[in-house]
């Protein structure tokens, strides 16, 4: 099996689907000759031609509208938003339009679109590039929101997203792009959208996370093990719809939960997870469900990112609080 970074796995998924389905189109700012500013589309224009992989003019709302129009013509658009911090420019196309196309037309029209974008923080981008805006997407009925945390899942989930007949927002954490490699099969495979994954089994407490925070949670779990706390780590992988079955099953087993997100406390999806746990499993709980999140400010200036972003120590602290409740 090949060892790939997450960005290589993402390119590989697009290559696979460009090959499989001539209706798949990849486009966005700088995705052609340049291969994207993160090189996610590296080599794809050379391989599939400018008809299938192309640069757009610089306008996110234009890109969103173009995707909808091409979907109406039977294509399967895979547009890239260069940084998800720019999503406000394309909010109407995403939340106002593609999310409602099936609904408004009673199923007559669909929007089989996969909007890909780098998101999250910790890589010292200029202002407004980094943010965790998945909550904005997750609260829009009609969208699916997928966030992979490993190269293996990135490829399998992206292939699933491209094949999905409803719009999928596919968010790629910038810090995970090249921070490690993982095993990725060269052949095609899918990872089901809407299914969480137990990344580590444990019996004392359930840590529920997604994106880069999955890795912070795993690190916290290792540290906690030294103190005799056996943490289970669940990677949501899809933050809309959320796989509550897996979450509830785990919480019923451990009786304790901490929900972790990189987004601000008032944003993200942690609050939904906590609400669902207390609605469906309150009698199994030994302690209140706590959360780890960033403070409720606008995303930190890059010089202060490191102190602003939640990390594994914050997780350990909250786990100790639920263990000692």
């Amino acid at each position: 099996m090949a060892q790939m970074t997450m960005i290589q796995a993402i390119t590989d998924a697009m290559r696979t689907e460009l090959k499989n389905d001539e209706n798949v189109l990849v486009f966005g700012e700088d995705v052609g000759q340049n291969g994207g500013v993160f090189r996610a589309t590296e080599g794809l224009q050379d391989e599939f031609g400018e008809d299938r992989v192309f640069d757009t003019p610089l306008a996110e709302s234009g890109i969103g509208g173009l995707a909808i129009g091409l979907a109406l013509q039977g294509f399967r658009p895979v547009p890239e938003i260069q940084f998800f911090g720019f999503v406000y420019e394309v909010m109407d196309s995403i939340s106002g339009q593609m999310a409602r196309l099936r609904y408004r037309s009673g199923g007559h029209h669909t929007a089989p679109i996969t909007v890909r974008a780098p998101f999250g923080g910790g890589v010292h981008t200029p202002e407004m590039h980094a943010d965790s805006l998945e909550g904005l997407m997750a609260q829009q009925p009609g969208l699916k929101v997928v966030i992979p945390s490993t190269p293996y899942e990135a490829k399998g989930l992206l292939i699933s997203a491209i094949r999905d007949n409803d719009p999928v927002i596919f968010l790629e954490h910038m810090k995970l792009y090249r921070s490690f490699r993982g095993e990725v099969p060269e052949e095609e495979y899918t990872v089901e959208i809407g299914k969480a994954d137990v990344k580590r089994e444990g019996k004392d407490v359930t840590l529920i996370a997604y994106g880069a925070m999955v890795h912070a949670s795993l690190k916290a779990a290792e540290e906690l093990e030294k103190d005799g706390v056996d943490a289970e780590v669940i990677d949501l992988r899809t933050v809309s719809p959320i796989d509550y079955e897996t979450v509830l099953e785990s919480v019923k087993k451990t009786g304790r939960a901490v929900v972790i997100q990189e987004a601000q406390r008032q944003a993200g999806v942690a609050a939904n997870v906590m609400a669902e746990i207390q609605e469906k499993a309150i009698l199994h709980l030994e302690a209140p469900v706590l959360r780890v999140a960033a403070p409720d400010t606008v995303y930190a200036f890059s010089d202060a990112e490191e102190v602003w972003l939640p990390n594994h120590s914050d997780i350990v602290e909250k786990v100790n609080a639920v263990m000692n409740f």
Binding site: E29, D30, P57, L58, A59, E89, H129, V298, A304
Partner: protein
Amino acid sequence: MKHVLENVESQFEMFQILNEDGKIVNKDDMPDLSDEDLKEIMRRMVYTRILDQRSIALNRQGRLGFYAPTAGQEASQLGSQFALEQEDFILPGYRDVPQLIWQGLPLYQAFLFSKGHFHGNQFPEKLHALSPQIIIGAQYVQTAGVALGFKKRGKKNVAITYTGDGGTSQGDFYEGINFAGAYKAPAIFIVQNNRFAISVPVEKQTNSKTLAQKSVAAGIEGIQVDGMDVLAVYAATKDARDRAINGDGPTLIETLTYRFGPHTMSGDDPTRYRTEELDNEWAKKDPLVRFRKFLEGKKLWSEEDENKVIDEAKDDIKKAIKQAEEQPKQKVTDLIGNMYEELPSNLQEQMEIYKEKESK
């Protein structure tokens, strides 16, 4: 049936005063500038070129953060800024830090902006400007508002904004020029057409032959200017400013220019999308070379003058980077404190938590 596109496009010819050899080709439009002014413009261009070189080096050493190189665009940036009054309002893009500096932004604050420190954006009172816009196009719509504000207050000032060729594709670009036109607001919209939006050539941005002609749809004046000719840029901006404060409405100015360096210092590799031939072709148009020749011809500039500016710039930069590095690091409590006039309860609670964490 009449098809007018070709006719309209052919009206937009590049406005130039100095050619590549530093010779005046358009005496009639030569602006009324004193010898002192001419020397000052040269001083600023040389200084800004050194600042660019040093900023790139400091970025590579990890002492600066985000930086978008400016070499090649000095005439577009500084020629237009030189036509402003202190009370005018600037809405710059991320590459337009030099205009802010020459309008009164202390150098160490420009460095703090680069490092991602909010103090870099706490501008001095006399500088009427926003910090560089990151969201491409946002500044254009806001400019219509600032300009309308001047008009409503009866002020004889203009709002000036900058974007690139790529920026003209944003809806905000059209909304901005159209709103300003609708209100006949005193605004100047500059497009620095450096031919590439990161990697995408302007030919892929639009089917328009010029970007200046986009003014026609908004019903405002538009002009395409040689953006490597500082006198042409100055003259066009001055004319736009005069008409704006006279109540004649906004102007769109397209400056034809080139960025000699990479898009930003964050991993851009221009060899992936630009040829060496094109780089060389534009190097010949270097705005500093052209203006230096012109001034030397008038005996207004010497190697000694040049070296004096270079030393001055290097010295200032050394002091400013030191001052930027001495600035206290931002704390989460600083960020929380800057959120609202009065902190809501969630942030009050978080303020306490972080105060305690930071005191450890």
